[in-house]
Symmetry: C2
Subunit: 248 residues, 2 copies
């Protein structure tokens, strides 16, 4: 495709569309450097302003990113994951045709702080099991997961190989703890150093944080998690019906 | 409250809980500087390590933040908003007992780029109305909204005072365009300079981006929005039922 100077579509929009196509068809693969402004000006016979406007829009859409001192690079496409039911990481990746794996960092018994105590419905200071794992999708770190389980359940869960067996599956099939539903709290935060290290990103990078409390029978909370997702790697989708507040 | 050295609850957890209470009861108000490490060590007769661990946890929870060169400050509490139905900003704030207002930055006719064309189901290059507004909650900028409307609808909508009249209400009550449902795409991103300026934050600050396409009758898309929420000011909540992929 060439840029049509006679088209009603602005030149920058044509160039943006053209580069998008070349990213999508693999001509400009993920993590490759985008051609420089000079190269794009020459290749498409457009002005520098046109190139800048096109690249600006690609930046806004997250298709490319500036790496300081290195140039403009094609980003990895985001994983698009439905947020419509309570599902575990392994299930989510399987639904997307991706291979899930886990790196088990550590686990320890902790005294529940105010938040953990509230979420697991136990007194502050109660011993709970805390499990830290990095979850990978096709080998790339996608999520840093901190899981808090009630003492008795947690003690049993950590006897399994948590790099292989999903906690949800263990709860449901081995420990007679069916998961019924969960409360989700969603935030955008900046990675602190610990999260950044776990996710192999720079401190300050955007993180999609899901705090999730899963309930079993009788609304008994059995699993409280903080799931820190790499912001540049994930997009969640859902569909909601119109609700007019106060309407009959 | 004083710190109980004989308690089974670790000292840092007690101190964390104490400071949390003082933030919540207004003793340490939003945007005030937290007492220094020295001051906390003296006031509570605990070690510097205890103070650091407590403050570290408050940072993780977002109750306080470090402002470079200035110290540790109490953050504004996040607005907790349900993400369970298609609702507009004014409706959301009303449900929380907050006052919604809007600053109308500008509007213009644009040629639809690939994304806008796909979302509004029109050919690339079709003229669409683009409206930029800052949405405020109790006077604080909470969201930078870019709205794309089909040409005919957009032309009519911008004849109203969009600092006063919500677009959803106009569509539904004036233009025979009932909203039925919407697709949501949720991401954590870093604010670029334009978003940062609109939200009165620093470039690079975390932003909760909602891209939302709302549909009217016959699954006709009528409104595509990019809603850039201040990450430090908002938390979305939802509740999802267990869904086991592939289960009978």
């Amino acid at each position: 495709m060439t840029i049509e100077h006679s088209s009603a579509v602005p030149l920058y929009a044509q160039l943006e569309s053209e580069i998008t196509t070349r990213i999508q068809n693999g001509d400009f693969p993920p993590n490759s450097r985008l051609p420089s402004e000079d190269e794009l000006v020459e290749e498409y016979s457009v002005s520098r302003t046109t190139v800048r406007n096109a690249v600006q829009n690609l930046l806004k859409k997250g298709l490319v990113e500036i790496r300081r001192g290195k140039g403009t690079f094609v980003t990895s496409p985001r994983i698009v994951q439905e947020l419509t039911g309570l599902t575990g990481f392994v299930e989510d990746m399987a639904a997307l045709g991706r291979k899930a794996s886990a790196k088990w960092l550590d686990h320890e018994l902790l005294a529940a702080d105010e938040t953990v105590a509230e979420q697991l419905a136990c007194p502050i200071g109660t011993e709970v099991m805390c499990i830290r794992r990095i979850r990978l999708s096709d080998g790339v770190p996608l999520s840093f997961d901190i899981t808090y389980l009630p003492y008795e359940l947690g003690r049993q869960i950590v006897s399994h190989d948590l790099e292989v067996e999903p906690i949800f599956t263990l709860l449901e099939t081995r420990y007679d703890t069916p998961l019924i539903e969960a409360e989700y709290r969603l935030q955008a935060i900046s990675a602190d150093q610990a999260i950044a290290d776990a996710l192999s990103v720079s401190a300050g990078s955007p993180v999609f944080l899901i705090e999730r409390t899963s309930y079993s029978r009788d609304h008994q909370p059995v699993d409280f998690e903080r799931l820190y997702y790499r912001g540049d790697h994930i997009r969640f989708t859902t569909r909601l019906a119109r609700r007019v507040p106060g309407a009959a």
